[in-house]
Amino acid sequence: MDDLDLLKKDWKKQEESLPHLTYDQIYKMLWKRSSSIVKWIFIISIGEFLFGVILNIIFADKDYWADMEKYHLKEFNIWVYVISYLITFFFIFRFYQNYRKISATDNASKLMKTILKTRKTVKLYIGYVLISSVVVFIVTIWMILKNHAETAVPQVEKNMAFDTTQWLIFFGIMLLSVAILLGILWLFYRLLYGILLKRLNKNFKELKKLEMH
């Protein structure tokens, strides 16, 4: 008899030694918390969407709008908001669509693919938040400077103009906020998803490798 046949035979024998749970025991398990990766991805992704929205709300307080008024940027800003919320909703919609498609009934390869796709949507969203923030930031600064040059006629110069220290503080704060934002994002990706998706990614690659032969 072949060794593998022996293995198979032995494998079947273990049936007797397997635990057997009663209906009630299994039923109770259903109410325990699931530790599924999909659940975590869902929670974290929603967190990330909220993060983008909260960032907008925090930065857009009354003073912010007053400043924008001063620099004739209110209209520009309203447009930015409308567009960015539309884009955010589009991402949330896509994310939800992908999420709904995740099904434990699919074959392993397809299941992994859908999960990774769901993740990718949120990744793209964060990328979009990052790039659009930088773009809006640059445009805003440029428009402030432009307006400043126009309004800084000699008689109001003292009221409107920043001196060198003020400029430095201004840029310092701006840079700091961008740095904090980048830091948080870095944490999201390196730590959170690194750990969360490590096994899934590994298994997915393994399956892909099989297909390449």
């Binding site: 060794d3 293995l7 009934t105 074959n107 299941l111 590994k202």
Partner: protein, 155 residues
């Protein structure tokens, strides 16, 4: 649910291949139960319940399940699992079986799935269907694992 109770062996066997101690075994078993329950509305009855269960349970083990914090390894499972002392087996065979089980435990998640389905007497079309790879590739890979296992006991 009654189906699940009836076929719970499938889940237990997967837990044995994928976990090393009793706590993790219970943990994974519970997750499989939850996933089966959640996916059950999608079970259309056009395949056998057991076939469907293999798929959902394996998906849980290799994709969906996230291990809880590493519990302290109290007991490696040679003693519980893979016990094997059975009549009619001489020591060499027993030794060889142990070596093979050890080797299986060291395989990666996907290879474990393949060997599990093989041990469960699944044919290649079912294996390729469950994992979403082509039948040819499943066969090639399986032959490699088999050769590897054999070479372990006959170096």
């Amino acid at each position: 649910m009654t189906n699940l109770e009836k076929h719970q062996n499938i889940a237990h066997k997967i837990c044995r291949i994928y976990t090393n101690d009793q706590d993790s075994h219970n943990d994974l078993f519970q997750e499989i139960t939850i996933q089966l329950w959640k996916a059950y509305p999608k079970f259309r009855g056009d395949s056998k319940f057991s076939t469907w269960m293999y798929r959902v349970a394996l998906n849980t083990a290799i994709t969906l399940y996230r291990k809880k914090k590493k519990s302290i390894r109290t007991q490696d499972f040679d003693s519980v699992f893979f016990r094997i002392k059975a009549e009619g087996y001489d020591d060499t065979i027993e030794q060889n079986l142990k070596l093979m089980y050890d080797a299986i435990r060291q395989l990666n998640d996907i290879d474990k799935a393949l060997i599990f389905l093989y041990l469960e007497d699944k044919n290649y079309s079912e294996i390729s269907d469950t994992l979403g790879i082509s039948e040819v590739n499943a066969r090639v890979k399986m032959n490699r694992i088999k050769t590897k296992l054999k070479s372990i006991i006959n170096p």
